[in-house]
């Protein structure tokens, strides 16, 4: 006869109420674990989605995500000439925010090297990859734009032709793919005020130089509203993505590129690690610490609940001890009740979480490992939380049953 279950069944209202309270706490614990998982996944999903062997980035930097990397626009051709390289693709990356009708679109714009990379390897769930060099975008569904939507960017119209799902940047912003030339066109497009400011700065710099002072026509040219200040002659790339012809020769290719004075090559694994160790390290630690505090709070709460429940049946426990109930049975009853509250609370938390988490602004990733891991943690917390109750139960004098 299971005494814990019997008592729970008789006091089902109290038990459900307690479990729901505990469930709310566990939902937050689960959310923290899921947000942590989401943060890690978001940080690395783009690196994985691009399916590249090597990332060639500016020397002394850690690549386009963890650090700013500016590469010579001709570098892709230089890398393509290295022995063992199957394909070298230019890559640009920048988080931008642009108005779109009444709302504002914030996204990470990734430039893919046309024609080598049309985004066919991307996890497209609806629509297609890029089919022309200009005017097409593949966007993540979380941007909220359906296929066929027209987005006006940099005085041009771009059409959404494909949708990915859960392809986010480490910042949590949806990723939008375009050809590198379109990406550069969009990112180099400056608001009017910025153009005016840049024009003034350029004219001021010009007047400080001998050329500017001796050739006034140049100043007129710079101040001409039709002239757009060349922020740069040709926009740089953020990285070159390299796929090798023979995976066994990866280290040779890497060594060859790394000998160049202006660049460094990293594997995809290293690039993922830079993201985790650098970009999202502090948020990860923050979430971890917050989760620890929550687990501790849950433990204290369940502990108090179990202790109160044990306290309220002290006389019944005294009767059981008087009639010779073994210690294991008394302790087992308290422990099983803690487990029941923990397990039912956790089951409710998983159910609530699976309904609520998809509506969270940041992605909450609940893998079977996360659910299983937190489940084991819940069992450990419940076990620890029952200790006070068990100690109290074991200290109850059976003689109390004889007292009127």
């Amino acid at each position: 006869m299971n005494l814990a279950l019997l008592e729970m069944r008789r006091h089902i209202g109290r038990f459900v109420g307690t479990s729901v309270g505990v469930a709310l706490l566990f939902t937050v614990v689960l959310a923290m674990a899921g947000i942590y998982g989401g943060l890690v996944d978001d940080a690395t999903v783009l690196v994985r989605a691009l399916r590249t062997d090597l990332w060639v980035v500016q020397k002394s930097t850690r690549g386009p995500f963890a650090d700013i990397s500016r590469l010579d626009p001709t570098l892709d051709q230089r890398v393509a000439g290295v022995s063992g390289v199957r394909v070298a693709r230019a890559f640009t990356f920048q988080v931008i925010e642009r108005p779109h009708g009444p709302r504002s679109l914030r996204f990470a714009l990734v430039g893919l090297s046309w024609t080598e990379d049309r985004g066919r390897n991307l996890p497209i769930v609806s629509g297609r990859s890029l089919a022309q060099a200009h005017g097409e975008l593949v966007a993540d569904a979380s941007l909220g734009l359906p296929i066929g939507s027209i987005v006006h960017l940099a005085t041009e119209d771009f059409t959404i032709v494909g949708l990915t799902r859960q392809l986010l940047a480490s910042s949590g912003d949806p990723v939008v793919f375009a050809t590198t030339s379109d990406a550069q066109l969009i990112t180099e497009d400056l608001p009017t005020d910025a153009v005016r400011t840049e024009r003034e700065r350029f004219a001021a710099r010009l007047l400080l130089s001998d050329v500017g002072r001796t050739q006034p026509v140049l100043e007129d040219l710079v101040r001409d509203p039709r002239w757009k200040p060349p922020a740069l002659a040709s926009a740089p790339f953020s990285a070159i993505l390299v796929n090798v012809a023979d995976p066994s020769r990866l280290s040779d290719v890497r060594a060859a590129i790394s000998r160049w004075p202006d660049v460094v090559a990293y594997s995809s694994g290293e690039e993922e690690r830079f993201l985790l160790d650098g970009v999202v390290e502090k948020p990860r630690k923050q979430l971890l610490l917050f989760s620890i505090i929550l687990v501790f709070t849950s433990s204290v709460l369940i502990s108090a609940l179990i202790y109160m429940m044990t306290l309220s049946k002290s006389h019944d426990i005294a009767v059981l001890k008087l009639i010779g109930a073994p210690v294991t049975r008394i302790a087992g009853m308290v422990l099983q009740q803690a487990w029941l509250i923990g397990i039912v609370g956790y089951a409710i938390a998983v159910a609530v979480g699976s309904q609520a988490f998809p509506h969270f602004p940041r992605r909450v990733v609940l893998t079977p490992w996360t659910i299983g891991g937190v489940g084991v943690l819940v069992l450990v917390v419940s076990t620890l939380a029952s200790i006070l109750g068990v100690i109290h139960a074991l200290r109850i004098d059976p003689g109390r049953a004889l007292e009127a």
């Binding site: 006869m1 005494l3 019997l6 008592e7 069944r9 008789r10 006091h11 006389h315 019944d316 009767v319 059981l320 001890k321 008087l322 009639i323 010779g324 109930a325 073994p326 049975r329 004098d397 059976p398 003689g399 049953a401 004889l402 007292e403 009127a404």
Partner: protein
Amino acid sequence: MDALRAEGISKRYGEGDTLVRALSDVSLRLEAGTVVALLGPSGSGKSTLVKALGLVTLPDTGRIWMQDRLVVDNGRAVASLRELRRRHLGFVFQKPNLIPFMTARQNVAVAAEIGGEPDPFGRASELLRYLDVSHRERSLPATLSGGEQQRVSIARALANRPSIVLADEPTAALDKVRGRAVMELFRRVAHEQQAAVLVVTHDHRTLDLFDVRYELEDGYLRG
């Protein structure tokens, strides 16, 4: 054979000015199949004696034998008291003390299960029938009358087939008719189940139902 024998039991509480001699050199025997009354005014040490004989509290001095086996020697346990209570003792309290979240049958069955009965629910049903409360076996204690609760409590005390039943004022909460009915029940249990039954009572109207009477006064026992 003596179901229980006690010799020279003494128990004190407190010390100095607050010293209370609850039991002083108490010796008694409980024979199988007999109903023994333990009388005495409040504070005379009856509950302390029941606790000592029930192996709930150890006396300071004295010896206790259970079915000729020494279990307490000079105030020290020489066997597992919990195990002895589980195997040989049944308790009936002034209040029924039924576990409120269990039905009448479950209350009896849990005691049978703890006592090692192979079919605890069968044993519970059998006892509830024996004590004429089988019609309430699925009822929770709160829905039973005082008399029914006390009968379920007696059934629980018998669940482990004890050789000794200790009852501490079991009729205190019952009226005269029900009180006498319970005492008759103890007599029946003692004779039919060959158990020694010790009943602490204040009720002199039922003394004719007892085989042996002891009276306790200021910790001293008079047979």
